[in-house]
């Protein structure tokens, strides 16, 4: 629908459309390749009118919006569109750091049904970071027109996370998406994500340092397999973020300790 009221004039300086003062039960991230209809899904779920348009890289603002399901408040974060999480660009780094260190309760990865293969690259990388993922195969109407058929059940079985087919522009499949996201966020729907198997030498290296990482950051908080991979590659951006994270975590523990002393 192009430039909207909310994306013109002085409003362009407002990074988020709603202030998060009210209570939020779950935080949901919205990731995906550019031009897969992420903003359309965002608008459809939140009822906001963010600028949508058919060109890659359009979403430059980080937008936040809320929707309610079964009386629970979901805060939806629209992340910039990226093709991968290798942190080659600012958008990729922002998206990756958000998924890894801000820990949303669930992540929706929007993929384009008409070019699934390229989109799966991002899905596989997201699965390495977080297991609480719902894949939203969008633009199924477009795919149908091009006579492309995506076997949704087979894809879900293969990826080990729920997959929902949608045509967000016409509001098709969104109810199911909302329901599935709730189930993943509250833990009633357990996922068993597919991990890409790497070359033996890399797999062995991961096995060697993974236990130490588990000791350092704890098993619950991070996907230590992915962290091991990044540390093995000496990814500076991850290292910086990790140090920041450890510092933050430590401050919290000291504060609690302080209270106990008093």
């Amino acid at each position: 629908m192009g430039l909207t009221n909310q994306s013109c004039g002085t409003r362009v300086n407002k990074e988020t459309f709603t202030k998060s003062t009210a209570k939020v039960d779950y935080v949901i991230a919205l990731a995906g390749n550019p031009n897969t209809g992420k903003s359309t899904v965002f608008n459809a779920l939140t009822g906001l009118n963010q600028h949508t348009g058919n060109w890659p890289g359009k979403t430059v603002l980080r937008a936040e919006g809320k929707y309610i399901d079964h009386g629970l408040v979901f805060n939806l974060i629209d992340l910039p569109g990226t093709y991968s999480l290798q942190a080659n660009s600012v958008e990729e780094q922002v998206t990756r750091d958000y998924l890894c260190f801000q820990k949303p309760d669930a992540t929706i990865v929007v993929v384009d049904a008409t070019c699934l293969e390229r989109n799966l690259n991002l899905v596989l990388q997201v699965l390495e970071i977080t297991s609480k993922v719902v894949v939203c195969v969008n633009l199924v109407d477009e795919a149908k027109r091009k006579k492309i058929c995506v076997n949704i059940d087979a894809l879900a079985a293969k990826l080990g996370v729920p997959v929902v087919a949608t045509a967000a522009r016409d509001g098709i499949g969104l109810d199911k998406l909302v329901k599935t996201v709730t189930e993943v966020a509250n833990g009633t729907l357990k996922t068993a994500p597919y991990y890409v198997q790497y070359h033996d030498s890399i797999e062995n290296a991961i096995k060697k340092i993974q236990p130490q990482i588990k000791l350092l950051v704890g098993e619950e908080e991070f996907n230590t397999r992915w962290l091991a991979l990044k540390l093995l590659d000496k990814d500076q951006t991850v290292l910086t973020e990790l140090e920041k994270y450890l510092r933050r975590k430590e401050n919290v523990t000291t504060e609690i300790g302080g209270e106990l002393w008093a």
Partner: protein, 465 residues
């Protein structure tokens, strides 16, 4: 605040192990990982995706062969631009006149009401001739062109045409030392320069981003289109041709793009030196635009937006203009005094004092420049009713001695002058620097003055007016 000893040693021991396991990156992790992921994605896709039959004709490719070809790319772009503006120019006249009729009928009724209540003259002047009239002008002149232009522009955006524009213009922007994606941010500028400035975030290199931000306002935003369209109407008045007016507006836009490229080139050779970075631009598939939704959203959103801005900006501007025109110092009103003071300079660049004053008072929003000018003229002239291009022609040409040169210079100045207040504020916020913001205001102003000066002086020297 540092990390505690235990955590620091934990991390360090991991890193020293990493050095042992993967000395100097011998495992080649990055490349190996990327290729494994690609391979996995490919094999999963092969398992779950099936395409029963290839569509007989690949329309996307056929369209792209024309719209992005070396030969037809630019002509088709011009044609589309031409069609959109012809629709806007031709389509806006009738609703403009209708809205003006209704609103100025309303003004007469308000005047009757004031007379009936024996309201003081200043009350009638301030509220009816100041605030109400300015609002009426903004709404009747600005609203119809936007209501037509916006759905058309959005249609192209939804279809996926903008990346094709970027593709076509990429070579030119490269030559200018700027980023190819600047074509996209420039296109957003047609909608709103402030939105265009924010869109510059898609450009990664800070140098090229700054170039894109500094040159964004050389494409007219939706606040300036109606001004340009109305002036083009005055310029071809009497010939009665909407094609002529369309050609002028398209010409002005092409000039804007040319100036964008020229200024980008100059900046990349002087203040912001460097080589353009390369990038991959994905041409997304064409998608069927949702016509109904576009029309509803553009009209409602834009209508509300324009009305909101009209009330916020035009009403006070109308009030200020009325006050300036009616507070007298000696024999002259403050407005006339300022205009007289600006006049020698304004004449040198082909304008007059009132026009320059209107641009200055119009800083908060470009929409109100023309209404302010009309109000200032009306306040000093004898005419009180104005509801068609014909009246506008009479006011400008007959009463205030405009020549075609005045109209041309005002269009040029409107195209090139400083960005509106909102845009400047956005540049300040996005660049984080007052210095660059100042440059973003002064550089276009300087260029506008220089070009108008050159045009006006050459035309006069050649004796064409």
């Amino acid at each position: 605040m540092g990390m505690s000893q235990s955590m620091r040693t934990g991390l360090n021991s991991i890193l020293s192990d990493v050095d042992k396991i993967n000395p100097h990156g011998t495992l080649g992790i990055n490349d190996s990982v990327v290729s494994s992921i690609y391979y996995a994605a490919e094999s999963i896709a092969n398992e779950v995706v099936s395409q029963k039959e290839k569509p007989k004709t690949d329309w996307d490719k056929k369209l792209d062969d024309i719209l992005t070809s070396r030969v037809f790319g630019f002509p088709s772009m011009l044609l589309l631009l031409g069609v959109i503006f012809w629709l806007t120019v031709a389509g806006a006249n009738v609703p403009s006149a209708m809205i003006a009729d209704v609103l100025f009928w309303g003004q007469d009724r308000l005047t009757d009401l004031c007379n009936y209540l024996h309201a003081p003259a200043w009350f009638h002047g301030f509220f009816v001739e100041g605030i109400y009239r300015c609002l009426a002008w903004v709404i009747s002149v600005m609203l119809p062109p936007m209501a037509i232009f916006f759905p058309c522009f959005t249609l192209l955006e939804d279809l996926g045409y903008l990346p094709r524009v970027a593709f076509n213009l990429d070579r030119l922007f490269k030559k200018a030392g700027a980023h190819g994606k600047q074509a996209l941010t420039m296109s957003m500028g047609f909608g709103c320069n402030a939105a265009g400035i924010v869109a510059c975030r898609i450009i990664e290199s800070p140098r090229e981003r700054m170039i894109a931000m500094l040159t964004n306002n050389f494409v007219p935003c939706n606040g300036r289109f109606p001004t340009l369209i109305a002036l083009a109407g005055v310029l071809v008045f009497g010939m009665g041709s909407t094609f002529g007016a369309t050609a002028i507006v398209v010409g002005i836009i092409l000039l804007g793009i040319a100036v964008t490229l020229a200024v980008s080139w100059t900046l990349s050779k002087t203040l912001l030196k460097g080589v353009p970075s390369s990038f991959t631009l994905e041409l997304p598939p064409y998608r069927k635009p949702q016509i109904g939704k576009i029309i509803v959203r553009s009209i409602f959103d834009r209508t509300l937006f324009v009305l909101g801005r009209a009330i916020c900006v035009a009403a006070p501007a109308g009030a200020v203009t009325w006050l300036l025109a009616n507070i007298y110092v000696g024999d002259l009103s403050v407005l006339a005094y300022c205009a007289q003071w600006l006049n020698p300079f304004a004449q040198a660049i082909g304008l007059d004092g009132f026009i320059l004053m209107a641009f200055i008072l119009g800083l908060p929003a470009n929409e109100i420049v023309l209404p302010i000018l009309i109000m200032s003229y009306l306040a000093t002239g004898s005419m009180t009713e104005l509801d068609s291009i014909e009246d506008l022609y009479n006011l400008f040409v007959v009463q205030h001695g405009w020549t075609w040169l005045t109209a041309v210079c005002m269009m040029l100045f409107s195209l090139l002058h400083f960005p509106c207040g909102t845009t400047l504020w956005t540049i300040r916020k996005e660049s984080g620097s007052l210095k660059w913001t100042l440059l973003a205001a002064l550089m276009p102003l300087g260029i506008a003055c220089a070009i108008c000066f050159l045009v006006a002086q050459s035309v006069r020297a050649l004796g064409w007016v």
